[in-house]
Assembly symmetry: C2
Homo-oligomer: 214 residues x 2
């Protein structure tokens, strides 16, 4: 692969420009609402050239999601380390994760859409990678809290982690619905939602002895 081997920062060269355009367009409008012609136009190449670099539209799609996912991992809020209370660290993680999910709304849509696909044509390990990282961090954080006695040891760490990530993702994907649901006053206030969720979760995770003073 001579073209990418140079990896020059300027003038990314055909394939890279195609990938960039594809990532942007797919994130905006999904898979089928985007024509390869359009991607080619925005990348400044011809349509056939797209098929030359990536074998098919589907492969290009997978490549775009994969590229986007590689940036996901690093964007999560850093952890303060064992000096802080697990409760604080979990709260910051949740808030950061929710913010990240909304900031990169296009990517989030892509990944969730990929999850719903009946036949995971090679893009599954990918979504796995997208979620897996945050998930692992959460689980180990919870386990840490359980080991130190700050959190209830009977709670299932994996279930708790899934609940947290799911809370954020589901909030994201039902945003448009929330204003029309009764009793929802956090529709346009992610911070308020995170506060409510952490409140609910910590009262559930906190050991009897600790954590009743916030």
């Amino acid at each position: 692969m001579p073209s990418t081997a140079r990896s020059a920062p300027r003038d990314p060269g055909g394939a890279q420009r195609i990938l960039d355009a594809a990532e942007r367009l797919f994130a905006e409008r999904g898979f089928d609402a985007v024509a390869v012609t359009e991607i080619a136009a925005q990348a400044g190449v011809s349509k056939a050239n797209v098929f030359h670099h990536f074998g098919s539209k589907r492969e290009l799609y997978v490549a775009a999601v994969r590229a986007a996912c590689q940036q996901t991992t690093a964007l999560l809020a850093p952890d303060g380390g064992p000096g802080e209370a697990v409760r604080t660290r979990l709260g910051r993680f949740l808030a950061g994760h929710l913010e990240h999910v909304h900031e990169r709304a296009g990517l989030t849509r892509l990944v969730v859409r990929e999850l719903l696909e009946p036949g995971h044509n090679g893009a599954q390990e990918l979504a796995e990678k997208a979620f897996g990282d945050g998930f692992e961090r959460l689980v180990s954080l919870i386990r840490e809290g359980q080991a130190s006695g700050e959190l209830r040891s009977e709670a299932d760490p994996a279930a708790a982690a899934l609940l947290m990530i799911g809370a954020n993702v589901f909030f994201f994907q039902s945003r448009a619905l929330l204003p029309h649901l009764p009793g929802v006053d956090f529709a346009d206030d992610p911070a308020a939602y995170t506060r409510a969720v952490t409140d609910l979760l910590f009262r559930g995770l906190a050991d009897d002895a600790s954590g009743r003073d916030e």
Copy 2:
């Protein structure tokens, strides 16, 4: 509307047969993987006829989702009424909802996919209807429990309800992922997941005085 006015149970007549075929095919394979030609064939009519009854493929899709959603509401587990503990009723609701989400996997996929669509072309009120019903029941159930002192009154009922429904939906849509995530032992056991979630949630919702004996 002379054709539907008869509403004869036999020989549903063109439009209805098209709708049935569309609902089945869309639920199985999603929007774009289905060709109008295929729907027409299964309905026993010509392609152009489909466009005559429903203006476009998209409109047909919306009509199919709407038709499917009308059955959703009634399928949720019935409520035992104020004779039972709110905790029991909530637990049963959650289990029933999760089961329903999986039983009608095709419909669930349709609705969730619809949520992700950037421009909600008239299908929003629909998804709203699909979720809104269960959501309202959950919120009022939680409020009831708060009024009776069984649940913490400071908790946000809407946030709790969203968390519960989100937990189920997210579990559904990440099923394929779960076996590859570390520490997950409920991947193929929805009942175990529901148990873990309710455990987490009730310790968070239960008032200090009550609910520490299960």
